[in-house]
Symmetry: C3
Subunit: 392 residues, 3 copies
Amino acid sequence: MTAVSGPVSEALAELPLVDHHCHGAVTADLTGGEFASLITEGEAWPGVSPFDSPVGVAVRRHCAPLLDLPRHAPPADYVARRAELGWREVNRRFLTAAGAEVFCVDTGYAPHPVTSPAELGRAAGAAACEVVRLERIAEAVAARGVEADGYAAAFRGAAEEAVRRPGVVAVKSVAAYRTGFAFDPAPPTGAEVTEAAAGWLTRGGRLADPVLVRHLLWTAVELGLPLQLHTGFGDADVTLHRADPALLTDWLRLTSGTVPVLLLHCWPYHRQAAYLSAVFAHVHLDVGLALHYTGPARCRAVLEEALEITPFRKLLYSSDAYGVAEFHHLGALSFRRGLAALLQARVDADELSLADALRIAAWAGRDNARRLYGPPVSEPARDPSGRPTRKV
Amino acid sequence: MTAVSGPVSEALAELPLVDHHCHGAVTADLTGGEFASLITEGEAWPGVSPFDSPVGVAVRRHCAPLLDLPRHAPPADYVARRAELGWREVNRRFLTAAGAEVFCVDTGYAPHPVTSPAELGRAAGAAACEVVRLERIAEAVAARGVEADGYAAAFRGAAEEAVRRPGVVAVKSVAAYRTGFAFDPAPPTGAEVTEAAAGWLTRGGRLADPVLVRHLLWTAVELGLPLQLHTGFGDADVTLHRADPALLTDWLRLTSGTVPVLLLHCWPYHRQAAYLSAVFAHVHLDVGLALHYTGPARCRAVLEEALEITPFRKLLYSSDAYGVAEFHHLGALSFRRGLAALLQARVDADELSLADALRIAAWAGRDNARRLYGPPVSEPARDPSGRPTRKV
Amino acid sequence: MTAVSGPVSEALAELPLVDHHCHGAVTADLTGGEFASLITEGEAWPGVSPFDSPVGVAVRRHCAPLLDLPRHAPPADYVARRAELGWREVNRRFLTAAGAEVFCVDTGYAPHPVTSPAELGRAAGAAACEVVRLERIAEAVAARGVEADGYAAAFRGAAEEAVRRPGVVAVKSVAAYRTGFAFDPAPPTGAEVTEAAAGWLTRGGRLADPVLVRHLLWTAVELGLPLQLHTGFGDADVTLHRADPALLTDWLRLTSGTVPVLLLHCWPYHRQAAYLSAVFAHVHLDVGLALHYTGPARCRAVLEEALEITPFRKLLYSSDAYGVAEFHHLGALSFRRGLAALLQARVDADELSLADALRIAAWAGRDNARRLYGPPVSEPARDPSGRPTRKV
């Protein structure tokens, strides 16, 4: 739980990470209430402060010092100091502290005004790439107006256009939220898609039709880019057990040999995700979101479980930070400390050689993402001064 | 695993607990076989002693000294000494050792002669409140005789009468046992209830009709008291995966903003329960039953998982002890030691301030229950001598 | 994680184990690619070495020294040395190092040329028994040709014949792979079996018809031998969540009081399996397969969870090793070290007496299997020289 010392810890502290899935940071000053609502995935708790939670404790412990406050600063002091510094400086401090060389930013969820990928990268002194959320593309197609029998082609065309934009490195689906994973794994027929589209285009609302969600996933496969899938932990809009990645097994069998599939978050089904990554060549995982929500106090334990059988080239790092840049920092800190503690203990027990531990650390924190996504993730642009990617 | 020392440990050792869900202790002397059958949730194991289990080991280690026996006393000695002391003295010793200021007693399950709440409180030198099990109310209504179209009103009336009794602080449902949680979350219509009641009143037996179980839960919401729900671990009558609290998600969405919901036990789905408590304002949890069955050796580990994302105002203490007063004691001991070890380690690692750790300890052990249930839980009556609630 | 020292550790290191479920070791020299494919449960990972995994690291750490290589030897050296020694010597070294007095060998899965039980026993200097895989019997009956209405009797006859062979101690089903466990728990009628058989005998392929799988399980119960069931973790052919042993609950209720049921592997549902073993007299479990795949680094953690509520007479040891004899050794090593660390820590914390710890170690490693299977497991034949079962 404490920051361990030793060569693995030092290597991970220095390693420029690839945060392969995150969101923007808010570009506005926040009231105490607004900040509090951004550090929980849940409803407001009447009479209960979101600071009184594992992530709230972690923010006060690990983020307060970056705002020049003492460790464990009271919430009121924290919020006041944050406002005093202003959102630009706050974002700059936490985003640079994250020590990532690349952020892959999901631009499809932004109920608040947040940084664009480029703005996030600039504030962090890092490169930024984009992850296209396919449900948003489909919903834009519907919003623009389309005939039911033209929906499939229009969605495919819009998705292709979206992923051709510079800097796009992956697509993402939130099928977990919309239908869960207990769906018919086969691709729907054209007629089925047209019929389902007719219903949805009449009803309106967000994309949650089971046929269209399956169609979206199969279209994703055809796009050829790595596919990120939300699994497990999320906000109150997810039904947890329907987001168990094990439910994807039949679909993973059918998509074997196609695009890389990245299971995001996974907690509390990270062992199920690990199993899938161990038996399917195209499956990878991370434990983002859980990294900052469980915090440094439990991050090693979650990683220990996730890594019980996961091949070492299959684990990636993501923060899944949204809204407050504290989370881009906390995710990175939890990951570095948790993985270092895990690996150093194995080295100390002579279960793992130091050379292997250092390779595994670099793979998980950076190289697996580079390998999977290729450029620009693997060759991030430097800033105009030619400054190398910063170290933390 | 060992009892840690330090200020958190001392504070938790002294803290008068609220055991917000337990049952009575047997009011009879027990043979060895009777005692053994009460320390397992399962069938008799031919040729296998229930003492050869984690809870059996914990009883011999932590309960034997309270009967003036050496630690790890042999089962035969234990049972003999228990009989020698007599059930009144045995109950008194363990119930006072539990160090609770209030016990909330589920009076709806008592296949053995057990203490009433008042008797339990007297033996413990503590206050006792009552939790009304709604299935028992419904079954009493059916047993008294009612027309199908009068069932809904009769049940509602009987439930209202039951919760008006002095000392009643909550209602409880064992829907987990009867249908599991994969039910239609919407309230049934009056016609549906009448039709289902007609079937049940003809068939007889316990309440297990899915429509009537849903009706019971929605009636519970209308009663306005906190609602305790059995989830996860129980005896052979539960089908574990159908008692996964994640299956309640849709129902929790519909009941958001109504009564507090207390997820009891939860193991091995305590992470799922934690998720629900983090995203729904009205959801709380405990890890009762698992506390004594896994024992002090694993209690910290279970609490660590349960607390990964649970807000600190959402965790409560219960023993779920039934039958043998050893369990009222063991639950409290496991909870105190497990939570102290968890919190003290975070303080030692500077992940948590001592002041925060002390607040969290008091919240989980007592104050969250006081806040949720109000009086008389929050203002337990003292005994006639005005003796303050005992310390342990 | 490190090998702990102390009396429990010494006792477990010396204990002749009963490996109550394993497979044969390959009787051929292996290329690097062939070896690599045998140390993963999954598909080939393009560009990724199976050595870069927890089990690969464990092989290099704990198996290399038995081939006279340094700890953490590079994969290429490992494979070269293995080829140099030849398969007979490799098998002999690892199988003797496993330190088992009896291996119970599932002979129903052998895509490679592997040792027979007798050959495995001879190479190990141990006794070997046989476990009959019932799906294979059923498929042989179908392959020989049978009328649909004669299938039930033919299968029953063939199974009875198979289990009468000397050395057969148990039957096994891979229903988890074929249909999963969410089946109708009741025995199918004769007419249903005939109808299902007619379909299967026409279609061909492996036995995966739900009615016939149920019929197979109920036939297993009638055979009267202990029944081993694959649950949880396996290769890409299993759908993990359908292999959750909790899904067996209704079937276990119906079979209560019949044959012992052995839940194999269980991970990541070992807590669910533990629950079943705690409430049903006939249910037992092991965490085979996970022992070598998670390796010594995580074996204690998995055992800690599995043992949270499992009665101590209900846990057995198996390696579930297949193909490479490294796994027969690694399973045993992980089990001895993991269980020793768990028990010794409890003794050190005075949660468990040393005498109890030693009993539990012997029960789990050997005596529970002896009790359950009886002779020849409980009275293994010695080799012709009368040499006692070797110690490790």
